[in-house]
């Protein structure tokens, strides 16, 4: 009867319509590349606190440098450096309490280190030994998640459980720009919005997902605006500005803890190194781009600010670096002193108990 009745498009101007809703995305920056801060936004931190922040970033970087060196010597396996992302990691980690539940991707060693997770265990994990993931009881840090974005759901679930139990706990998930393309990102964000859960999502938008630049990942101008699709707040933060990251995270955690629901924080930063030690970033991005970001180094700009404030000079910088190096030396020694894993360990934690087939296989080892 109706054979694809096509009614031709009428020649009228673009449709006028009624405005239903409008949305804004904002950006937070406090510390600029020259080391100047916006006093109106600057958190009231003591000199000691600022030095703690600085030393945490330095520890993170020292770990990262050492891990790269160990990998080259064949003492670690494939390793994903986080050079350049120290502000995003340390700034957010410092906003947490030990009661909070943390869901890292694979590149958040700076978060672990800032909270006091043993560096030796981090090395152990990257050397291919899962015992490095046996989180000490004082933390609630989930194992590194290699399958991009899939851990976002676990954070949402933990937040749901915390609310059910009426615990004042916030769940925090870290992930990259690439993760925003995954279905689980969406499903997790949607659940968090619907149930208004105490969860904070921190995207380290380091602008690359291996060789895919941000514009190959999304058609949006910001990642923060993706929160509009879920009915909660998204904010973009200068991810190389530890004060801004810290402030945004503190606010988001406080909001979550007081029942205000989830927040999405996009930390705009840059992956200064290769994706992993198995990658060669020079195949897909220009040295100029990298050089421009070197100028925006999060540690450099903090040093500039601290120098202005009389909190930093070269002597202190060197002394602090020496201390961090000693800490990391010690961690490497501790890691290498660990007994190697034995085959029977494979059987230990698949389930709480071995089934008869597994028991037979263990015997045959």
């Amino acid at each position: 009867m109706f054979n694809a009745a096509y009614i031709p498009r009428d020649e009228q101007p673009a449709m006028p319509e009624e405005l239903l809703a409008s949305f804004a995305v904002r950006r937070l920056g406090i510390l600029d590349e020259q080391g100047n801060v916006d006093e109106a936004l600057m958190p009231s931190l003591s000199g000691t606190e600022i030095m703690r922040i600085y030393e945490a970033m330095l520890l993170a970087r020292t770990f990262d440098e050492r891990a790269l060196a160990l990998q080259r010597e064949g003492r670690l396996g494939t390793y994903p450096p986080f050079l350049g992302q120290e502000a995003s990691q340390v700034g957010s980690a410092l906003a947490l309490t030990p009661a909070d539940w943390l869901f890292p991707s694979y590149r958040e060693m700076g978060v672990h280190l800032t909270l006091g997770y043993p560096a030796s265990q981090l090395f152990q994990y990257w050397a291919g030994d899962e015992r490095g993931q046996l989180t000490p009881d004082r933390f609630n840090i989930f194992p590194f998640c290699v399958s991009v974005g899939t851990h976002i759901l676990h954070a949402v679930g933990a937040a749901m459980a915390a609310r059910y139990r009426q615990d004042p706990v916030v769940a925090v998930a870290w992930f990259g720009d690439g993760a925003t393309s995954k279905g689980d990102f969406h499903e997790g964000f949607n659940m968090a919005g619907v149930f208004r859960l105490p969860v904070v999502f921190i995207c380290q938008n380091n602008q690359w997902a291996i060789s895919i630049p941000l514009k190959g990942q999304t058609a949006t101008a910001t990642l923060a605006q993706k929160a509009i699709a879920y009915g909660f707040d998204g904010v973009q933060v200068d991810g190389n500005d530890v004060f801004a990251v810290h402030r945004a995270t503190v606010e988001a955690i406080a909001k979550a803890r007081s029942g205000g629901g989830p927040t999405f924080i996009e930390c705009l930063t840059y992956r200064m190194g290769d994706h992993t030690t198995a990658d060669d970033a020079s195949r897909y991005r220009s040295p100029d781009e990298v050089a421009a970001w070197r100028e925006r180094d999060p540690i450099l700009r903090l040093e500039r600010y601290m120098a202005q404030q009389g909190l930093w000079d070269e002597g202190y910088g060197k002394e602090a670096k020496t201390r961090m190096t000693a800490t990391i030396d010690e961690a490497v020694r501790a890691m290498e002193a660990l007994p190697p894993p034995v085959a029977a360990e494979m059987f230990e934690h698949t389930c709480a108990t071995l089934n008869p087939r597994q028991a037979g296989q263990l015997k045959e080892l």
Binding site: E130, L134, T135, T150, L153, V156, M160, A161, Y164, C351
Partner: protein, 320 residues
């Protein structure tokens, strides 16, 4: 003791265990106000509130993924996948995470998660509403797969599953939901996971089945001396019971409604071929759906193993 069907038995088990254990939280699509599309969770939201019986968005990966987070936190989530045909979106969360969390964290985090889903064919529902893809989940170390065969086993197995320290996939044969009524005790009783049930003893042939096929097997055996094993748990599978029986009878027929290639019947036959070969007096036969895309309802009777096919396979091995 009341005569209950399987829907009622499962509902009862959930209700009793929720009363006993405040950590149990149910989540899924339409599990709350609507009581589930098969009414398995009927009345539970009224009883335990919307915080414990949670209607979620249409989001299978999130359902399972969130439940993993909840389980790790210390709850005992029960996630309902509305039909097994919609579990594939949650495959990644099940295999990458639920199955591995204990191992990856070296025991620091565990995943006492129960995933329930209506399973199997025979109700002439739309596409994807009658899937029988249990074999996938039997190739996942770390996950248990349980299939009750009637109201009594449903309650006892469900209580075990709800108390298991690790993830359990609980497959509820939809065809049986209202087909059988049995005495189901009000009391707390459990049927241990990983143990098969002898549905009937015999010395001439061992017939192995689970879920709704069991009913057809019982019809098919007739007066022949068949020993029928109702597996109940597929993973881990009670191979010891199977092997002991086959060593006695020398003959084995395996029946399942999934397609043959790569079905769970293969694992059973392979285990027999590896560990009871010297006792075999006949080939190990599998009676299954053919290796084709599952048809819609009008061809379902041609697709599923019939009583006649099962009976013929028994005759075939007996004739050896």
């Amino acid at each position: 003791m009341a005569q209950l069907n399987m829907v009622q038995a499962i509902n009862l088990a959930l209700r009793q265990e929720m009363e006993r254990d405040g950590r149990i939280v149910i989540l899924g699509e339409d599990v709350g106000r609507d009581g589930g599309v098969f009414r398995v969770t009927e009345g539970l939201q009224e009883c335990f509130g919307a915080e414990r019986v949670i209607d979620t968005p249409l989001s299978e990966s999130a359902l399972v993924g969130m439940a993993i987070g909840m389980a790790a936190y210390g709850l005992r989530p029960v996630a309902e996948i509305q039909f097994m045909g919609f579990i594939y979106a949650a495959f990644d969360q099940l295999f990458t995470h639920a199955a591995r969390l204990r191992s990856r964290s070296r025991g620091r985090f565990t995943c006492p998660l129960l995933v329930r889903t209506p399973y199997g064919a025979g109700i002439k529902a739309p596409e994807l509403h009658e899937e029988s893809s249990e074999a996938f989940f039997c190739h996942m170390p770390g996950i248990k797969v349980v299939v009750p065969s009637g109201p009594y086993t449903a309650k006892g197995l469900l209580l075990s599953a709800l108390r298991d320290p690790d993830p359990v996939l609980f497959l509820e044969p939809t065809r049986l939901y209202r087909l059988i009524r049995e005495e189901v005790p009000e009391d707390d009783y459990t049927i241990p996971l990983g143990q098969a049930r002898l549905a009937c003893q015999g010395k001439d042939v061992t017939v192995i089945a689970w879920g709704s096929m069991l009913e057809r097997v019982m019809k098919a055996i007739g007066p022949r001396g068949a020993e029928v094993i109702d597996l109940l748990t597929l993973n881990p599978c009670d191979m010891e019971t199977i092997l002991a029986s086959v060593r006695r009878t020398g003959r084995a027929v395996i029946v399942h409604e999934a397609v043959k290639s790569g079905g769970f019947g293969a694992e059973i036959a392979a285990t027999i071929a590896g560990e009871a070969i010297l006792y075999l007096r006949a080939p190990v036969l599998r009676v299954t759906a053919p290796d084709v895309t599952m048809p819609l309802s009008r061809l379902q009777d041609s697709y599923l193993p019939t009583v006649e096919q099962i009976s013929r396979a028994i005759d075939d091995v007996m004739r050896y």
